[in-house]
Structure formats: structure tokens, C-alpha cells
Amino acid sequence: MEPVKLKVSYAPFVRSKDSIESVMYNVALALLPATAMSVYYFGIPALLVTITAIAASVGFEWLTDKIRKKPDSCLDGSAFVTGLLLALNVPSGLPLWMVVVGAFVAIVVTKHLFGGLGYNIFNPALVARVFLLISFPVAMTSWTVPFSVDMQTAASPLGILKTDGMAALSSFSYMDALLGKTGGSLGETSVLALLIGAAWLFYKRYITVSIPLSFIGSTLVFTGIFYLIDPTTYASPLFHFLTGGLVLGAFFMATDMVTSPLSLRGQLLFGIGCGLLTAVIRLWGGYPEGVSFAILIMNSLVPLLDKWDLDEIKAKKQQSLTTA
């Protein structure tokens, strides 16, 4: 007599509550303060860009799943986060159809053409940003002035530094940069809001400190060296920390699990590489901002960094086999 049907499955029979959804939506939650700040500074256009980016990303995810005949993954949160990050990486005045093009590049080209979640080599939101920046350079660098009624635009602090040099930065306020009251992409502005979100992810253990610290640390050290050599030509490390996409990139884009290395050594090298490339592009490159390019270049090295670890395991094994 058996009152119930017993089911057989694999051990372990208890599993942690973590899931792809919990990881992704916690990242989205961590980005909420920065998103809220951008809407506060840039108004309804920022909100529209955010909603469009998320809706388009989730929509493209749904569509590609249908075309690829894959189980529905549009609600697993990864497309949501990609959309949100894309929004935080563009100016608030960007025409909405360009946002949709960006979402297409992120989800369809960068993610699904490479195999979908877990298989993409490059960070989807960053590829989309760089694609938009190269395709629509004017629209992508027309930063709305915070609280402006008539969508008045101005250059970002890094842009001013690049075109007009240190002298033009006399009115730059560190406090404004910390709070985000400067021109820039939605999420590049308020460092404080980003740090609050990052603190949440550390608390939930969804990101480790290795990548952000080595990334920001190496940027600061590198820019600091040149600041010490010639403070009249080069901006201070604090300036580099507070402006542009460094904090957003270091805590939320470089830490993307899929496109960062697995081992601690790999993560540190990855972070240092990101930091050096960012500083090099900012100091001498053609673009005022280098975080996106730096992360994408380092993304391409991740398979190599991982292979290094695995090759060491292999070598150790072969050594033990020959000695045994």
C-alpha cells in the first residue's frame, strides 16, 4: 500500500535559493539608485530611454528564443539587466529608435549569435554602446545638462578635458561629480548612487571585490603617476574616479560573470588590464572615455586567462602521472 507516488531524482535534495533570476534581479535592484538619480537629474527623457531599452531588450530576447526554438528566457532577468545597463550607458537625449537599435545589437548580435546566456564573449550592453558611439557619434555625445528645461546639452567633464585641456576645468566641482550633477550618460553621473548599489551586491555576495578594486586601483595609480609628473596637463586620480563610466564599468560591467575570468588570478589581471587600458585611452586616446573599450578588449582575453588556469591543472596532472 503506497499512498503517494515517489519520485526519484539526483542528490542533493536541498538546493540553495540562488537562481539566475535572483542574481539578475538583484543586479537590477542594485542599479535602481543610479537609475533613480538619472531620472531626477534628466527628467522624463531618461525614464523613456530606460523603459525603451529594457522593453526592447526583453522583446528581442523573446523573439530570438522563438526563432532559435529555445525555452523562453526573456523573463530570466538577464535581458532586463542588459537593457538597464544599456540605458545607463547612453545620454538621456538619445533618440529612442537608436536605443532600440542598441538593444538589437546587444541581445541578438552580441548575445544570441554567440550562443545565448553564458556563451557570449563580450558584454552585450557595452558592445551596443560602442556600436552606437561609432555609428551615431553626435547623438551619443550630446549630454543633457542636469535639470535643464529645454534639453540644453553640454560636454561631459572628460570631454572638456580632452578638447580644451585642464584650464577649462576650473569650474569643475568634485561634489557635483560625486552626486552626479554633471553631463554624462544616465548611469555615469552619480558615483554615490552606484556605490550604494555595489554595496548591496557585495552584501549579497553576487560580486567579489577582486575585479572592481584592481580595475579602479590600477586606473588611479596610473593616472596618479602622470598627475604627479605634471598636474597642469593631467587631471587628478580623484577626477578620473568621479567622472565618466569608471565606477559603473568597474562594479557593474566588468564584473559580469559571463564575460569575466573564473579564478582570482585571472580576475586581478583582468581588472588591472581594464584599468590600464582605461587610463591609456583617457590620457592619450582619441576618445575622451575609455572604460567601454578597455572592458571589451579585456573581455576578448578572458578565454585565454581561463585557459591558463586549466593548462596549469593539466600540467600538474601530467607531472604527477610521470612521477608516479
Binding site: 503517494v4 515517489l6 542528490a11 540553495s16 539566475i20 542574481v23 573564473l262
Partner: protein
């Protein structure tokens, strides 16, 4: 407080029965004694249908070196000798006994306790072998074999495993609280086999303060050291326990005695005491009956061969929401397809659970979060081993340390993509072993 150095996880402890005293379960009207209750070859049955058997009578003869004797766990009449479902998930040759309710011992067994100190090393090991004692923590390795390591190996550390790191299980915990003296005597007998050259330890997780207290009290003046261990899974895995207590690491392909260590389970120590001092073969054991779906979770002492269905009835039956019955703990146990299976020498617990995860347990792609690497106590790359197994690249899997996996399941516990990593690893191991056996055959 000591712990192993690499990886580990903190699953919910769920020790529902930690404060419940062991209750003796009455012998049911029919028991099923399997011939496969140990690692190695099944025992050869010595009885046939219709035979009268007494409690403790040998009904299965060890077949070969790595094997163990099997005894009737109560008195009665042999009803059948045939293959029936086994909690290992397959079928095994078993002796079904219709019990007579008398529970009478066979001649010369269950005698008044004697002092073991007058016995020779050989006769102690002989008694342990005769009693059919195997590791009662789960693996079921014959104890007499484990206690006779090759002469070139020097044992300097003997560890009694009271970690009981599996969630839900409290059998060892209760035995330590209630039978502290027998546990200590069992450990003293084991230690005596190594002529005082080995240092005895008992490792207990910090979530069992009453067991630590009871054991410390009983161990006073014996030279046995009670080690408090951090509550972390898999603290009670042999390799992790050795690492926690001695700092030594068992490398791939090594056995504990290669590093001078010997690990025994708490229940095994009591069984050794029973066998050596009281001439009692291993015919009953303490186990935990728990889980959210059993009406009355408790620790019970049941005769080996008691069917799960009888145990469920003794514990007030399971609820209608039950969808899985597990032998052992929830991390390394096995789910059962029928309640007709009997408990064996290695059944440390039975869990009745409602596994909600079953309904939406689709494996998803790895998102490279690295949690499995952090959780693995053996410093492996579980995500990679899982991939290699899934794509049947077994040679690659072996290179990346397949054989070093202890199957603790930590990687699978933490995986946010719900990949069945440890299952894939077990699958690869089984196929690799098959291939090797075919090569040697």
C-alpha cells in the same frame, strides 16, 4: 574551533530531531536482510526457505576479502531468498524472515560485558570481522579490513567522525549523548590495535554542544582529544575531517592510511564495542527518521532489515504531500522508488520530503558565476567536469581531477543555473570505471 581549509557550504541545518532521545522500534512481522550491505562483493546466503533462524545467527558468508558477514537481526523463519529492491536504487539478493516475536539470541551471543584488555589484537579483529561490522556512516567499508592496514603504513592518528554534517541527521549526535561510554570504549579498542602509537580524536561539529559535553566528560583521563569543528558542510567527509583535525591533505589516489590516518564513524565504534565486549553482531542500528513530511520525526533504534514502510508507520506515517523518500542525508542520499526497501547497516537516516524543486528543475546553461569553484572542498572545477561529462569527454574529465571528487554535492547545492553537476560527475566516474574494468578483464 577547527575546520577544513578549502570550500564548503552552509545548507540549512534542519536538525529537527536533535533533542529527541532514541526510541526502540518494535521488530516488525517481516524483515528483509540484504546480502549487499557493504562495499565489495555481496555475501553468500547460508540459509534456505523454511530454515529457523535465531537472532545474531550468521545467514550470509563474506565472499572474498572486501566483503562482510550478514546476520539474522531477529529470530524467525526464512520466508524467501530472492532478489528484492535495495535502498541503493537497484535489486539485491536478500533473505526475508517471518519474525516470531521472541527475538531470541543464538547460542553464545549477547553475553555480559567482558573486559577487552585481555584480548589479543588478532582476536579483536576476528571478533569485529565475525560481527560483520562495516563503516556505518554510509560507505560501508568492512571495518576489519580498514583496521588491518598494510604493514608498511604507520597509523599515528585515529579519528572518530562525530561531525554529522548532513542536514537533518542526528543519529550519531544522539548516540554520542546517550552512549558516550560505549563510544569511548569502542575508540579505545580501535586505538589499542595500534599499540598506543596512534593519537585518538573525536571530531564534533559545534552545533552539537551537548554531544561535545557528554563526550568530553566520558573521555576524561583516556587521552582521547575532543575536537570542536566549525559547522560547515562537508566537515564530516573523510578527507575534509582529516584536513580539519591534522592539517594533512589526502592527494588524488591516496587513502587515509597513506597519511597515517584512520577514520571511523561513531556508530561503528559502538558496534565494535558491542562485538568485542558483548559478542553482539551488527544486527541493529540507530537512525534518524525526519523530513518535513513525516508526522513524528524521531531517532529510532531498529533491527537491520526493517522495511521503510514499517518505519513510516511507526513514525505516524508520511503526509500526502510527500513526493520523495531519501536514504541518508539530503546532500548525498538516494531517493527511493518504493517503501518496500529495508534499512541496511549503512542507513543513517530516512527523510520524507516534499521536494518542490522537482517541478521546475530544468538544467540551464552555466553563467560562469564561479560559485561551484568556491564551494568545492577538493579544489576542483565542477562546472568544467560537468561539461566534460555531458559531452562524454571522459579523458579530459580525468585530467581535470574527476577521481578526486568526493561527490559531496556542494557544487550542485550552490549552482544558480541548477545544473546537476554532481550527477554528471558520478555518471562520468561510473563510465570511466566500467571502461577500466573492461580493459583489465
Amino acid at each position: 574551533m577547527k575546520t577544513f581549509s578549502i570550500g564548503g557550504i552552509h545548507p540549512p541545518e534542519s536538525k529537527l530531531t536533535a533533542s529527541k532521545a532514541v526510541e526502540k522500534m518494535p521488530v516488525p512481522s517481516e524483515i528483509v536482510v540484504s546480502m549487499s550491505q557493504h562495499l565489495g562483493k555481496p555475501a553468500k546466503p547460508l540459509v534456505k526457505v523454511g530454515d529457523e533462524v535465531k537472532k545474531g545467527q550468521r545467514i550470509g558468508e563474506a565472499d572474498g576479502f572486501i566483503s562482510a558477514h550478514i546476520h539474522a537481526s531477529t529470530s524467525g523463519k526464512v520466508k524467501s531468498v530472492k532478489s528484492v529492491p535495495h535502498p541503493g536504487g537497484n535489486y539485491s539478493l536478500s533473505v526475508t524472515i517471518t519474525t516470531d516475536g521472541e527475538d531470541t539470541w543464538a547460542e553464545g551471543l549477547n553475553t555480559a560485558p567482558i573486559d577487552w584488555k585481555g584480548l589479543s589484537k588478532e582476536s579483536i579483529i576476528e571478533k569485529i570481522k565475525d560481527a560483520g561490522i562495516v563503516g556505518m556512516g554510509g560507505a560501508g567499508f568492512p571495518s576489519s579490513v580498514k583496521l588491518s592496514p598494510p604493514p608498511d603504513k604507520t597509523i599515528d592518528t585515529i579519528i572518530l567522525n562525530g561531525a554529522e554534517c548532513e542536514p537533518f541527521l542526528t543519529a550519531d549526535h544522539r548516540v554520542m549523548v546517550e552512549s558516550a561510554v560505549e563510544v569511548i570504549k569502542g575508540l579505545e579498542i580501535i586505538t589499542s590495535l595500534f599499540a598506543g602509537k596512534a593519537k585518538p580524536y573525536i571530531g564534533i561539529e559545534a552545533n552539537k554542544p551537548d554531544a561535545i559535553e557528554a563526550m568530553s566528560k566520558a573521555a576524561k583521563g583516556t587521552g582521547i582529544e575532543i575536537v570542536t569543528l566549525e559547522t560547515k558542510y562537508p566537515q564530516g567527509a573523510e578527507k575534509q575531517l582529516i584536513n580539519a583535525i591534522t592539517g594533512r591533505t589526502i592527494e588524488e589516489g591516496q587513502l587515509p592510511f597513506d597519511k597515517g590516518c584512520l577514520v571511523h564513524n561513531i556508530g561503528t565504534a559502538v558496534a565494535i564495542y558491542d562485538a568485542v565486549c558483548c559478542n553482539r553482531p551488527l544486527v541493529e542500528r540507530v537512525l534518524t527518521v525526519s523530513g518535513m513530511e513525516i508526522t513524528s520525526a524521531r531517532n529510532i533504534r531498529a533491527v537491520i532489515g526493517t522495511r521503510f514502510s514499517d518505519i513510516a508507520a511507526f513514525c505516524g506515517d508520511m503526509t500526502e504531500k510527500t513526493n520523495q523518500v531519501i536514504t541518508g542525508g539530503p546532500m548525498m542520499g538516494r531517493s527511493q522508488f518504493t517503501l518496500e526497501v529495508p534499512i541496511t547497516k549503512t542507513t543513517s537516516g530516512i527523510l520524507f520530503i516534499n521536494n518542490a524543486g522537482l517541478e521546475n528543475s530544468r538544467e540551464r546553461t552555466c553563467i560562469r558565476c564561479g560559485k561551484c569553484i568556491d564551494a568545492c572542498p577538493q579544489s576542483l572545477e565542477p562546472w568544467l567536469l560537468g561539461n566534460e561529462a555531458q559531452f562524454r569527454r571522459f579523458d579530459e574529465a580525468e585530467i581535470y581531477g574527476l577521481a578526486n571528487c568526493t561527490e559531496c554535492g556542494s557544487c550542485t547545492f550552490v549552482c544558480p543555473s541548477k545544473r546537476e553537476l554532481v550527477h554528471w560527475i558520478k555518471y562520468a566516474k561510473a563510465l570511466v570505471n566500467n571502461r577500466k574494468q573492461r580493459k583489465t578483464a
